[in-house]
């Protein structure tokens, strides 16, 4: 059985095929700008209206984000890169950290369709959970998923998340209303997971 709490030397930011890294202001804006033009992706990733952005606008968002991280101290952000060629393939965000209660939420997005269905999302989630529980010392981690986002819901279930809230008809999209589902995972649940949640997924 794989030990989930490892020793200090074990890398937090290196996965099997992916790694977490900082924003690269030279290369990343253009790639992320492209993702924002794919409304299919944006509508899975976010509940805000899909808005195509230029590289310049993305850069501005990065600057705002890094400023918020520094000032508010309740956010963490990682770019997800393929280990093989350091290519940007996605992003991960931990947000709404409540230090006193030990809670936080997160979001993961794999930007282009060719990179999905390869297990990168699962690898990223595994690393993100380790960061949240073993480095931020969180007690519970939660994520919201839209009722129509079967991929996200399946991934969360696979990692042992429990559906905790179903906010009925909380979203409107495509001319109808959808529920918004919150799934949560407690630290003891994460620790007790079988090695089924392994790197090979």
């Amino acid at each position: 059985m794989e030990k989930l709490m490892s020793d200090i030397a074990t890398q937090l930011f290196e996965g099997q095929d992916i790694r977490f890294g900082p924003i690269d202001y030279d290369k990343d804006p253009e790639i992320e700008a492209k993702w924002t033009h794919d409304a299919g992706f944006m509508r899975l990733y976010d509940v805000e209206p899909a808005r195509p952005m230029s590289a310049a606008m993305v850069k501005k968002q990065y600057e705002k984000l890094e400023k918020r991280i520094e000032e508010e101290k309740n956010l963490h952000h990682f770019m997800i890169r393929a280990k093989a060629d350091d290519r940007l393939i996605g992003k991960a965000l931990i947000a709404r950290i409540e230090w006193a209660n030990g809670n936080c939420t997160f979001r993961i997005g794999i930007g282009s369709a060719e990179d999905r269905r390869k297990g990168y999302g699962a690898q990223a989630l595994k690393m993100l959970l380790r960061f949240a529980f073993a480095e931020l010392n969180m007690f519970r981690v939660y994520a919201d998923a839209q009722e129509y986002n079967e991929g996200a819901l399946a991934l969360l279930r696979k990692f042992g998340f429990v559906e905790e809230i179903r906010r009925r008809q909380a979203l409107e999209r495509d001319g109808r209303r959808w529920d918004l589902i919150t799934c949560g995972l407690l630290k003891d649940e994460w620790l007790n997971q079988a090695s089924g949640q392994s790197d090979a997924s």
């Binding site: 299919g40 509508r43 230029s54 310049a56 606008m57 999209r173």
Partner: protein, 185 residues
């Protein structure tokens, strides 16, 4: 989830003030471009001027305004711009403004598709209930496009435009969400 930003002939893309500003400056060399969509005296802004103007417009991203550049598929040429501006959240009503630059880009079906893409965005992404627009009486090409898409005539500001030595009406048109959804389901 559908990629609602992409059509067959055109797609809705990021509004980059620098790029759109430069194109706009070029488009306005043809006075007809300006006179079809702006009630003020035909003007030819420099690229610098136009870029500055657009930069100010898109400064803050908020829920009230959505700016798009329109690009052809597959050439990816920038041929127009569109803006959706919410006027009233209680009524969930927004104004749409758009233009196609360069005479060779007119009468190619871009207008019809652009407007439909925007309406899909307005009704199924921003969840508005109606979209309003104004169009000049002397722009029958545009009026036909809007009618084709489903806009209905709602009124006229009589003789509020003054051009070529005579007065013209400003035509108001509107489309409701249920009307558009019925035409497009």
């Amino acid at each position: 989830m559908k990629d609602i930003l992409t059509g067959r002939l055109v797609r809705l893309a990021a509004f980059d003030p620098e790029e759109v500003g430069k194109s706009f400056s070029t488009w306005t060399r043809d006075s007809e471009y300006w006179r079809l969509m702006d009630a003020g005296a035909a003007f030819m802004p420099s690229a610098k001027d136009a870029v500055k103007h657009f930069e100010k417009e898109v400064e803050e991203l908020n829920a009230d305004s959505y700016f798009f550049a329109v690009r052809t598929i597959p050439e990816d040429n920038l041929i127009g711009e569109m803006v959706l501006e919410v006027v009233n959240w209680t009524g969930r009503d927004a104004f749409v403004g758009l233009s196609i630059g360069g005479r060779d880009n007119w009468d190619k079906g871009y207008g019809t598709e652009m407007v439909n893409l925007l309406l899909r965005f307005a009704f199924t992404e921003v969840n508005l209930r109606r979209v309003t627009l104004t169009v000049f009486e002397y722009n029958p090409r545009a009026i036909r496009v809007y009618e084709k898409v489903g806009f209905r005539h709602e009124g006229r500001e009589r003789k509020s435009l003054n051009r070529e030595g005579r007065r013209w009406d400003m035509v108001f048109m509107g489309i409701l969400r249920e009307e558009w959804l019925e035409l497009n389901q």
